[in-house]
């Protein structure tokens, strides 16, 4: 069970709904480990800024995590968490293990665009 403030995806149905309802989706699939927790923290911070992106996490050990674990984009990954970025239901980018805030922001902006407030500036 993940102890974060992100929304959790616990079933295959919930994954399908998330991908169907939102154009831009991030799913971070991991455990409560030292490489995973910093990524959840960054995603929680960014969730406030990127209103046009739906952020989720997922326990790596539940059956529904097979969806992320078995993605071809994650096949070579050797470290948790697996963080996958979806655009219109399709994988746009995927990363493995610890990522800095700047790395995550770079992917978010490249795949989903900047937050509305930043664009105005």
């Amino acid at each position: 069970m993940l102890r974060t403030n992100l929304k959790h995806l616990e079933t295959n149905e919930a994954i399908r709904e998330a991908l169907a309802e939102h154009e831009n989706v991030v799913i971070c699939c991991g455990r409560m480990g030292p490489m995973c927790v910093p990524v959840y923290c960054v995603l929680e911070e960014l969730e406030r800024e990127y209103a046009h992106v739906a952020f989720y996490d997922q326990d790596f050990d539940i059956p529904a995590a097979g969806f992320v674990r078995n993605l071809p984009e994650c096949r070579s990954f050797m470290g948790l968490p697996f963080t996958v970025y979806f655009k219109n239901g399709q994988v746009a980018a995927a990363t493995t293990s610890l990522q800095r805030k700047s790395q995550i922001e770079k992917i978010l902006e490249a795949q989903f665009g900047k937050p509305a407030e930043m664009v105005k500036e």
Partner: protein
């Protein structure tokens, strides 16, 4: 209406939650800022088997739930926020958090520590491609491969033993001849036939193209260097204090730990108290953090009583 809290506790590990239990019992109605991930360092460590009073090993999550439920039962309040900035104005501390500003008469800093990295330029490139800070999470990716564990503390010993379940060979690399780990953990590692030792060696570089293929080690005594082939490098070299946001408020030492007065939890700023791993560079144990949390709560009580 303006609300000034009696005490805000930043952090939700054993130190912060013990401070919450004691200040709540003292009817100070503490507000705990739990951070994004409640539970502190304990939530990311192995199963806990040395916490006094618990005869059987306990899951880290269950232990922190017990702390939290106890604090809540006495009236502690919780918010999933972090302190982003703090300053003292007109005798009151103004804390900026993700959702706004809080005012408080006293502040307990119990934000703990975070895992230290090797600080080798190539290290981040290999996160998820052979370099890891979590044996439990990433060990299964290294089935039948040779891996290194870097470090000489309890975590390094536990990680090494755990990794022998998967890896063909585990080599513990430590920079000093003396191991910081407790004898019981060292013995477990020494008894394991799949574990080898390289002491005193230092990791100089990590080699590989797409993933880790080996490391360059340097002997700390002779300065001789050597390449060692391996597929994984597990880093367990200790922790750094999470005190960045408080550095303009209280005095820290050269390593970044908050300085406290002897036999107390008072910091250089009256009304601000620190406890747990944020001010403990040596012992870093949950039971000590809890004890220091208790001290912080009692120091808060005395400070507020004196203020009145």
């Amino acid at each position: 209406m303006r609300t000034i809290e009696n005490v805000v506790i930043a952090g939700s590990g054993p130190a912060g939650l013990t401070a919450a239990i004691y200040t709540a019992r003292a009817a100070l109605e503490p507000l705990v800022l739990e951070g994004h991930v409640p539970g502190g360092q304990l939530i990311v460590c192995h199963e806990v088997e040395n916490y006094p009073g618990l005869a059987n090993p306990i899951s880290r999550i269950e232990l922190m739930d017990r702390f939290r439920n106890q604090a809540r039962r006495f009236g502690a309040r919780f918010r999933s926020e972090m302190v982003e900035n703090v300053e003292k104005r007109d005798g009151v501390f103004h804390l900026v958090t993700g959702s706004g500003t809080l005012e408080t008469k006293t502040l307990v800093i119990a934000t703990g520590a975070q895992a230290r990295r090797l600080a080798i330029p190539t290290e981040p490139k290999f996160y998820g491609r052979g370099v890891s800070g979590c044996a439990v999470c990433d060990g299964p990716f290294f089935r039948d491969k040779e891996v290194l564990v870097v470090g000489g503390g309890n975590t390094a010993m536990q990680d090494a033993v755990f990794l022998t379940r998967f890896a063909a060979k585990v080599t513990i690399v430590h920079r000093r001849e003396h191991l910081r780990a407790t004898p019981i953990e060292v013995q477990k590692a020494k008894k394991n036939p799949k574990i080898e030792w390289m002491i005193p060696w230092i990791v100089e570089d990590i080699l590989g193209t797409d993933s880790v293929e080996g490391v360059v080690l340097r002997n700390a005594k002779t300065r001789q260097t050597r390449e060692v082939r391996c597929a994984g490098v597990f880093v367990a070299i200790g922790h750094d204090p999470k005190a960045e946001v408080f550095k303009n408020l209280v005095t820290t030492d050269e390593q970044g730990y908050i300085r406290i007065e002897a036999d107390s939890t008072r910091t250089s700023m009256p009304g601000v108290f620190a406890c747990g791993d944020i001010c403990d560079a040596i012992y870093r144990q949950a039971v000590l953090a809890a004890g220091r949390g208790c001290m912080a709560a009692m120091d808060v009580e005395r400070y507020l009583a004196g203020e009145k």
